[in-house]
Amino acid sequence: MSRISFLILLLGLYAPSLLQAQIDSSLFKRVENKDSLKNTMNMDAVYNRPMLFAGRLPVSIGGYMEANWQHIGVDGVSEGHQFQFRRFTIFMASTISKRIKFMSELEFEDGTREISIEFAALDMEFDPLLNLRGGIILNPIGSFNQNHDGPKWEFTDRPISATQMLPATWSNAGFGLYGKRYSNDWMFGYEAYISGGFDNTIIDNEQGKTYLPATKSNADRFEESLTGHPLYSGKFAVRNNKIGELGLSYMGGVYNRYMDEGEQIDDKRKLNVFAVDFNTTIPRLNTFITGEWAWINIQVPENYIQKYGNRQYGGFVDIVQPIWRRSIFGWDNASINLACRLEYVDWNVGRVQETGDKIGEDLWSVVGGLSFRPNSLTILRLNYRHQRNRDFLANPPVLLGGFSFGISTYF
């Protein structure tokens, strides 16, 4: 289907609500999250979103957008002023009947260059500890993959380790179970899915390094799993309302096509990803800290080029300090925050076979930020990034730096 006809179809689906909005916007009712922040975990992020519903329409809708200006230079070479419309995301949710829900997330990236269904799943609750989810699911690896909405973050760019080392946003057709249980201040949850997965491009791509997101460019992956094996992903998370949340997650399976027409054409190769994530708010200071760290192990053919490494690790930590919360320009409860993000990724852990030297191929980055939130749904953010990238041989690093300013809001 062409993009234009797809857009027309989408417009058709939304037409009733749009027409109502033109008549009387008060017909819309904003659905705030029923759970207080204290009662939510990262795994709830797909539902923990503001939604609108109109009259008796059985579908509630919502979404968010992100737009940026940036001026970034690399080793003294700048592309000047760049204006970007990064994302326009639409949520549609429906409670089909008691304890049966449907939620979807449709994303347009960089205008209409990339259109993808990031999430579209049916949830059936048999018990709070036993829910069935099926459809296009977000694999629960780390925290960012499921909790990625732009307005939630103080930075114009998504974390590099979460989007380029881990492939956020990473979703696949699949099924699984999840559940959650509360007990006073304690809460724990689990998720376990089987889904479609990766392919050979993770070690054969134009990045020239092991690159899990390469699979996302395979347009057929929601229809055909080239390996014939499921990708297993699961997460266990525990939260204490006074301490914070800790998540441990795993994703793995066979990633290469090793059978064709019933014949074995290659060795079976696997990958394993482990991640730990956490978040907490320091009492009194209200400093919010969140981060994740992941380790990736991949079986790479012995005689292949070592630029495609068999081990990677990296992560990020965000520290957000509210410095002013009051009525600003008439917005009650507006806030101004200082933020800092530290990131590190080692794309290729190991030593060069020929020399014994440590492989470079890494980056670290520090991003400072100042944000203004007129309300809980909208953010204006100014960031400065300083980043160093080293090549495979660990030659002098390439320096990247510059400012970006962005707006992002739920609607």
Partner: protein, 399 residues
């Protein structure tokens, strides 16, 4: 309390100043003389476009879908020549199967180059039993267009194959067969259907187009219009890369700037430069050459300082690996240009890998490995005082 209007004005002024001055907060351009990449001066608009297109292909990572392999050594040009500089043993190529001017006896077994890597599902080549071989570290690729257009007559004038001047240094050209797709330069003379080679460690490559086509084929396993042969099967196949891209890479190599020397007024460097000539390093590492006519205006009739004579010299048994190309003997190596020597660690992972196979980890070690015709010069170096040696090394690092 500050008035709201003051805040608004303050924010607007800060924004205007910020947007106008944001470039000041970005990483600065490294000094021009610390970089090897970049175009030479004097290219016109069209030439600059071709340079940029070639640069893009030079940095392109080739995948299986784009024709990589099945057997290969590297998956991009830049993986062997980071920053257009010298390579590291990681990207060393192994060449095998030829011991004299009669030609390569192992072409039917995968010669002359070993493809030591393979895409998933394939096995790489292994050295055939009985084949002599050498390992070659990728050279820097800067300033090569200037080297290409030094007239053959200049090379022949520097050659002294019989050592008639009695200085112990002979130097001769390598007469090589050239592929059918190469159109010889008008000034090139031939001898028995062979032409003077000037690129490659054995001076067995005639020009940069031949070098480019050979690299696509033998280094990356990518067939071209010029050489549409699949290395794995030995069969003709369709070109796997657009001919324009191949031509652009060749053009890019022709028009990369020459390395810019540094600290030339430093008294120690000046002293080292004098010692370089005094102990006869310059007998082979000829400081200055001049191009003749060239199809690219910026390359024509240019004086430049590569510190090479582009000739073959017998370097003695220490560097004799028992492998050769063209009419060179196994102990003969082409004088490598010394320009950019001081910047080699920036592309070799922070340290030196010098000589043809990277066996020397310092300039001093490299000098000590000079035997054969260079024995006397090496002896001259050994007789220098420690201070003089230091000056000489400093000069070499300034290149």
């Amino acid at each position: 309390m500050m008035k709201k209007s003051h805040i608004v004005i303050g924010v607007i002024v800060a924004l205007i100043i910020g947007v106008q001055s944001c470039e000041r907060f970005e990483p600065k351009l490294p000094p021009e003389d610390s970089l090897l990449d970049g175009p030479m001066d004097g290219l016109n608009f069209a030439e600059m476009q071709r340079f940029l297109d070639g640069d893009q292909t030079f940095e392109e990572v080739f995948t299986i879908e784009k024709g990589l392999g099945p057997l290969f050594v590297a998956n991009s040009c830049v993986s062997c020549h980071a920053g257009d500089g010298k390579g590291n043993p990681f990207s060393t190529v192994t060449r095998f199967g030829q011991i004299d001017a009669t030609g390569n006896q192992f072409l039917h077994l995968g010669g002359p180059q070993l493809q030591n890597r393979a895409i998933p599902g394939y096995d790489p080549e292994v050295l055939p039993a009985g084949a002599t071989y050498t390992r070659l570290t990728p050279p820097a690729v800067t300033g090569m267009g200037l080297l290409e257009f030094v007239p053959d007559a200049v090379l022949l004038s520097m050659a002294d194959p019989e050592d008639r001047d009695g200085d112990g240094i002979s130097g001769r050209v390598n007469w090589v067969n050239i592929p059918a797709f190469i159109r010889p330069r008008s000034e090139s003379g031939s001898k028995d259907g062979k032409y003077i080679g000037r690129f490659g460690k054995k001076a067995s490559v005639y020009d940069l187009l031949q070098q480019t086509v050979s690299a696509f084929s033998e280094d990356m396993g990518i067939s071209t219009f010029y050489n549409p042969i699949d290395l794995f099967s030995g069969m003709p196949i369709d070109p796997e890369i657009a001919t324009q891209k191949v031509n652009n890479v060749s053009f890019y190599l022709q028009t990369l700037k020459a390395p810019i020397p540094r600290n030339q007024n430093d008294p120690e460097v000046v002293r080292g430069k004098a010692l370089f000539t005094q102990i006869s390093c310059s007998s082979c590492h000829t400081p200055q050459l001049k191009t003749g006519n060239a199809p690219i205006k910026a390359l024509a009739f240019q004086e430049f300082y590569p510190y090479t004579d582009l000739l073959l010299h017998d370097m003695g048994p220490e560097l004799d690996d028992g492998y050769t190309e063209g009419s060179a003997t196994t102990a003969e190596w082409r004088t490598p240009p010394l320009w950019g020597l001081g910047l080699a660690p920036d592309s070799q992972g922070g340290r030196y890998f010098l000589m043809h196979d990277g066996r020397a980890n310092s300039i001093e070690q490299a000098i000590e490995l000079h035997g054969g015709e260079a024995s006397r010069v090496r002896q001259n170096y050994r007789s220098l005082s420690p201070g003089e040696k230091e000056s000489l090394i400093k000069f070499l690092k300034s290149l």
